[in-house]
């Protein structure tokens, strides 16, 4: 008994050392880059000689970075709308009890998450060149929709697995039209799933760089693409400033997702009651 106890303690200690170390490893680079964005000098070393906001100024004053930010937001918004609509419809279809060949259909619809993005980017480049969609925001929106839609399919399918189809039958027997039932019964209940899918789609587009490298011209450069050339060529602390802003942004997204998931869980519980 005693040995078991001390063994347990040893295990806990070991887990804290290795697991805790890994957790630190995960968070360390994200934490380390933030203060460097306030460095007065254009170097990446601690201790910092002084603090300044000059790199943020550079970001907000630079035409190139502002163009990139604007393009990223526009593309992400439209790609999100498209992927959310297409993905939600598909997920509703897949969740119907008599959907034929469900496994195959799902595997195809989700494949953009798995297929190496370079392969997709080269294929899309080749195809878009033929139809004149290179160097256009429209082309970027379409490509990003492909990459974002699978996330919507996955989250909405998960939300629908907790959805009681009897509710739809009940609505029908009470005289509701199918479309009305979808909008008034189903959508409100799976809304958290749809919303998290939309968030995933947004982040996927906002963070996407490989496809942008291939199909976007200089006027369609996006934030990640601009960062890519920044890191590859001249690593200035402006990159750290942009990174810090993006970290704040992802923290907000994480908080929203957590909140949505809590809500979905609570909803599931009330449904069971």
């Amino acid at each position: 008994m005693n040995t078991a106890l001390s063994f347990n303690r040893l295990v806990t200690l070991g887990l804290w050392v290795v697991g805790g170390g890994t957790a630190l490893f995960l968070i360390a680079p994200i934490v380390a880059i933030v203060p460097l964005s306030f460095n007065a000098e254009p170097f990446f070393t601690y201790p910092m000689p002084g603090l300044s906001l000059r790199w943020y100024e550079e970001f907000f004053a630079s035409d190139v970075w502002q163009l990139a930010l604007r393009n990223s937001i526009i593309v992400a918004i439209f790609a999100t709308i498209l992927s959310t609509i297409l993905g939600t419809l598909a997920a509703i279809g897949l969740s119907r009890s008599d959907c034929p060949a469900r496994a195959t259909l799902t595997a195809i619809l989700i494949s953009p998450m798995i297929v190496p993005v370079v392969v997709a980017a080269v294929g899309i480049y080749y195809a878009f060149a033929a139809v004149g969609l290179l160097n256009s925001l429209t082309g970027l929106v379409l490509a990003h929709t492909v990459l974002g839609a699978p996330f919507v399919v996955v989250t909405v399918t998960a939300a629908l697995s907790g959805f009681d189809q009897n509710l739809m039958r009940a609505a029908a027997s009470l005289g509701a039209q199918p479309v009305e039932a979808v909008f008034r019964i189903m959508l409100p209940l799976i809304a958290p799933g749809v919303a998290s899918g939309a968030l995933f789609a947004f982040v996927t587009s906002f963070d996407e760089v490989v496809v942008a490298l291939f199909i976007a011209g200089s006027e369609e450069r996006t934030l990640p693409r601009q960062m890519w050339s920044g890191v590859r060529e001249t690593l200035s602390p402006t990159i750290a400033a942009v990174a810090t802003l993006l970290i704040i942004f992802s923290t907000l997204f994480l908080a929203t997702i957590q909140w949505l998931q809590r809500r979905a869980e609570r909803q599931k519980l009330t449904q069971f009651e």
Partner: protein
Amino acid sequence: MAMVLSDETVKTAIDTAALTRRLRLLRRRSQVKALLLVAPLMIFLVSVFVLPIGVLLTRSIDNSDVSRALPTTAAALATWNGRDVPGEPLFAALAADLKASSREDVAEVAKRLNNYESGIRSSLLKTARNIRNAQAPFQAAFIDVDARWANPERWSVFKQAMPKMTDFYLLAALDLQRSEMGQITGVTPKNAVHLDVLLRTFAVSLSVTILCVLTGYPLAALMARSKGWVANALLILVLLPFWTSLLVRTSAWVVLLQSRGVVNSGLIWLGLIDAAQPLDLIYNRIGVLIAMTHILLPFMVLPIYSVMKSIPPVYLRAASSLGAPPFSTFWRVYLPMSMPGVSAGGLLVFILALGYYITPALVGGPRDQMVSYFIAYYANQVTNWGMAAALSAILLVAVLILYAIYNRLIGIDRLRIG
């Protein structure tokens, strides 16, 4: 119980058939409805994703550019015996084709042919430049520009390049080639690079997967054991990097690992290393492994964690109350029960790692670039679509096989995100 069917029975039978039919119709209609809902995304995906990739892959065997641009030469070559220096008709045919083609088409042909024999590109372009204004006899004119036109080997390159389909690129992707006799042999050492790259891609992905298991498993176990705010805090430490932009994380590693970066200056400050000899942590394999492990770790931790959470503690207590020593409780109960999480995470990490491009490109050296880098290089830097397509085909097949295994073992519908 005589075997006489009463009217009643017959009537019921008919009704049942009708009912079955009606039910089937309803079911069919419902199936169509389901498919109609799936259709918009499916059509979209096929046209913007599946078809483009399919068309790209056909480029790995397509070779029609040469015969399309040089139709007269193709016809004339058919009658050439393949050994002697060809006569005036073949030279005249090539001259006619070169005069009739646009400069862009000639450049494309020259590039294609250069894949068979290095150096033929510049020779053909130079010849085309001069032959545009030349008159018959063309044989002398060609040889005047470049003596190599008198070599039968030069013409056998043309002959080799004429078929509309080729296995040249797929073989080249595996460092193989076809000899003039049609046998498959290895390419010369200075051209042998792709097999190395494929093996390297596999090795890096495997190393990253192992590193992720070794670090991710204890972390997941720690998370599964923790309660309350500790568990929440740990979860956030895993999820925040997961939600942070890939480029932010990669550039953070560049900043940390540079010669005068945070890690090195920290070690110098601690007096652990000499300021004149900082550690080489970036633009090499170490940098790639660190950054890729960091980026893929959440994909390992989350599945293991969710499996561990579902292991009822009762089992462990039962095992130890039955007298099992703590280690064998872990080895024989906990580890096997958490294995599905490890295999799900491991497969996912391995699949994702195979296609990595951005991170190795930014933190690796030339010898750390994986197959994706070379696909991008062939497509973007040298416009060799054949090679880009052939390497894509190999990478895609590998990934799809693993995807199918994943689907079999874990089920794609259980793919969890966030």
